[in-house]
Amino acid sequence: MSRPVLRSSQESPRTARLDRDRGLVEAARRDPANFDALYRKYLPQVYSFAYYELHDHHAAEDATERVFMQALAALPRFEERADSFAAPSGSGSDKQASTFRVWLFRIARNVIANERRRERRRPVAPLDEAYNLPAGGDVVEAAALREAGSVAWQAVARLPEDRRRAVVLRFVDEMSTAEIAEILGRSEGAVRVLLHRALRSVAADLRGGMN
């Protein structure tokens, strides 16, 4: 999450969000070799987002690679904007907040959406199987996923797409409602409702499974 700061412009003082990655982004702009720091910082988050969306280790790695390659190529065009984080939710601000993380996850969302479109044209393994298969990846990781998360994940996987994404971004990638709203292109209020309904559905699903 980004740090709140007081804006020093001539506008009325209000809290805005300063991108905590600003220093790293500026360093990467000066010398693209410095992009490594951003890559290392966000690799687990981007990969896990892709993994929870695509349910396959290799597909998640492919998507992750495309995300970072696109981010590196587009970095000179990235503009940090804080306005809509400061705006009240539902205010209809047409400016989109863009911390580096939000920007990166917007790229991820698009890459994953493209990948899912391609998947729909191919035969796809059932979701339950995907969670139970080690898929040639790290055996320990696969075992951990199976044992600890499969029941919870199956409940999340049964959610509609928007709710599922919101849950993964909130619980796995630890994003704020404002960030999720920017990534999904929804208002903060809509994301709050998505999360609330998602949790009620998951609870019903988990309790149903217990009975």
């Binding site: 693209p32 070799a33 490594d36 690799l43 790290d138 909130r170 209020g189 998951v202």
Partner: protein, 169 residues
């Protein structure tokens, strides 16, 4: 004026913020607003505990770092490939890229010579093995002689070996 749905959603958000913050400071649970739907609390705790963040393999991480390094500075990577042996190294690609030695004609030659020598050695061993099997017993030798084309004999094997070692010496 918020509707009841929006109000419940707002309470859920506050609870989730508290839950995540509590974990950051090592507390076992978030302060609970009694108005928060118990189903929401149950699901949130469960998801928080069970939804782990998978990490890609180390091999993938380093491989992608390498490819990003090449993409970040393609000119430097091309220069590194073209550099003559003994030239100072170019500006580092600070992306965990393993340094590859420059591929010059000098550095490539020992590899080729070594490869040719290995191939000749393997060939010599194979011919010697075939020759020794053929001469292992009188019966086997006769069988081999019967199967092989005219002129294929232990004498030919000796000539081949002699030729090979003659080349090598």
């Amino acid at each position: 004026m918020l509707g009841s749905s929006a109000r419940d959603a707002r309470r859920t958000e506050i609870y989730l913020d508290g839950l995540l913050a509590a974990e950051e400071r090592g507390a076992s649970d978030a302060p609970l607003d009694l108005d928060v739907d118990p189903a929401v609390v149950f699901a949130a705790r469960r998801l928080r505990a069970d939804l782990i963040r998978p990490h890609p393999s180390f091999r993938f991480e380093e491989g992608l770092a390498y490819r990003l390094g090449l993409a970040a500075n393609p000119a430097a990577s091309l220069r590194a490939l073209d550099a003559p042996a003994g030239a100072p190294e170019h500006a580092a690609l600070d992306l965990g890229v393993p340094r590859l030695g420059p591929l010059s004609s000098k550095s490539a030659r020992p590899l080729i010579v070594g490869g040719v020598a290995s191939a000749i050695s393997i060939g010599a061993v194979y011919v010697a093995w075939r020759w020794s099997r053929g001469s292992g017993s009188a019966t086997a030798h006769a069988e081999n002689a019967g199967k092989t084309e005219p002129g294929h004999s232990s004498g030919r094997g000796r000539r081949v070996l002699g030729g090979i070692f003659g080349v090598m010496s």
